[in-house]
Amino acid sequence: MSALLEVRRAVVRYRRARMPGPSLTAVDGVDFALQAGEIVALVGESGCGKSSLGRAILGLTPLADGEVRWRGRRIDTLSREAFRPLRRELQVVFQDPVASFDPRMPIAASVAEPLRALVGKLSVTERTARVERILAEVGLAGDTAARYPHQLSGGQLQRAGLARALIVDPAFLVCDEPVSALDVSVQGQIVNLLARIRRERGLACLFISHNLAVVANLADRILVMHRGRIVESGGCADVLHAPRHAETRKLLDSILPVDPVAARRRVEARPVPAAADAPARLTS
């Protein structure tokens, strides 16, 4: 069975704003494929290009080279207009829920927007009903619909973000660090919600994160990115318990345990290397 999503030799470059000279290569030749119903975690520290890759797949950033295929058809060359109908199938949840909602629109209007833009010919009552249903599905109480973004907590807003992405019944969801901006005590709510909904709907999902522990129970496969390339890829258990690449090991190491003995050992045993010059930062 051919893959749902295929990415081949993808390259994303940015011109440096206000500075002449060579552009920054955020994604430097990435290949991977995603099957229907699969959840793949894309992990790496900030600046590695994972968000840029996610945006390129969604057609929000152009590819400098390579191709992206959806159900066998090339989509990276589509114009903004031609891509629009595809957005019924490819949706996204953003990292910062507060920033991803228009502060001047009530939640119901924001959640309904993909419906209005992508699914024409729906009456107002039908639309309202669908909005109510999806809000209930993500666990938001009835009166949330009329509220404004600043009146909701981060966790509630992120649920609304999920609702907005799901209202058009997509086949594929890109989650760009969906819990990084949330309190730890709330992160689990969103991750578990996502897992449940995904199972129920059979969604394929690309979960982008910098924290391997968050995806440990969620992902089928893990892709580790470093400086624009995929340096390790494999089944979840394999990557977590038998990492092969140094970057994966670094990411695993960076997770501080909450057991004080182990944590203290981890911190104090580090030789505190002299900080060498890191590569220029990418605005990924």
Partner: protein, 282 residues
């Protein structure tokens, strides 16, 4: 959307008592301009042969005196205010509509479209306004319509620039990207996301454009290019008054004071609104 913005405006104004005073004064002036002439006993061009060039506050029945043709100054000033305000409002509205549409579209599209559109604005900006007005007057004759076109045609330029800057910034915000990812097209994004979110600065600027329009109109009328006799505008009233400064100073003082009051209130209100709608306070 409207709930949010209206709420902010009201909350802000209530806090600043001087702003409230200015708003009230403006409202009263508008009311006076609209309703006043009907309520007063004299007409705009009615000549009172018995009381020519009489000063104000004397028991002549003319509260603010008369001009040298015996016309009641209060009535004429109110008429002048009416004309000036009408032209200024209309011109500001034209500037608003064209400027916002133009600027929002250019700022949202960025790239070549934006560059082209802004070059057009820059070119028009470089034209001297008075020169342009004179040409318009020669071609279309003097009168309110010419004036409206002249003021509006330049007023929208600065508005477009301001709006375009705001739109450029808004374009980068994540909720715009979320709307794109949700399948919204350019028109929907510009009308439902970009414009509502820049209405704050737009309202402020419009409140500051209004007094500018009044001043431009007054200036042009003063020069004799704008509103013509016997139609009164604050500008030509001031021109008349300036000619009689030594003999009948109230002829200048009354319309000038009126102009000053309107411009001051508008400017102050605009400043207060701008402070109030500053996103940093939210």
């Amino acid at each position: 959307m409207r709930g949010g913005l209206g709420r902010d405006v009201r909350a802000a104004l209530v806090r600043d008592r001087l702003a409230v005073a200015c708003a009230t004064m403006l409202a009263l002036l508008v009311l006076a301009a609209v309703a006043g002439p009907w309520l007063l006993e004299f007409d705009e061009d009615q000549v009172d042969w018995a009381h020519m060039a009489t000063p104000p506050f004397e028991a002549t029945g003319h509260w603010l005196g008369t001009d040298r043709l015996g016309r009641d100054l209060l009535v004429r000033t109110l008429h002048g205010l009416r004309v000036s305000l009408a032209i200024a409002f209309a011109a500001t509205l034209v500037a608003l509509v064209i400027g916002v549409a133009f600027g929002a579209f250019a700022g949202y599209r960025r790239g070549r479209t934006d560059a082209l559109m802004m070059r057009f604005v820059d070119t028009l900006y470089a034209l001297p306004q008075v020169f342009f007005v004179i040409i318009l007057t020669v071609v279309f004759g003097r009168g309110p319509l010419t004036l409206l076109v002249a003021i509006g045609a330049f007023g929208w330029l600065t508005m477009a620039r301001i709006v375009r800057g705001q739109a450029l910034a808004l374009r980068e915000r994540e909720f715009v990207e979320a709307a794109i990812a949700g399948g919204a097209g350019t028109l929907r994004i510009v009308t439902r996301h970009v414009i509502p979110n820049l209405l704050g600065p737009v309202i402020v600027y419009a409140t500051l454009t209004l007094p500018q329009a009044i001043l431009v109109e007054s200036f042009l009328s003063f020069l004799g290019i704008g509103i013509q006799e016997p139609l009164a505008s604050l500008g030509n009233l001031i021109a008349d008054g300036a000619g009689e400064l030594e003999t009948a100073p109230w002829m200048l003082a009354v319309p000038a004071a009126c102009l000053l009051l309107v411009v001051f209130c508008c400017n102050f209100l605009g400043d207060s609104l701008r402070d109030a709608l500053d996103p940093r306070d939210q």
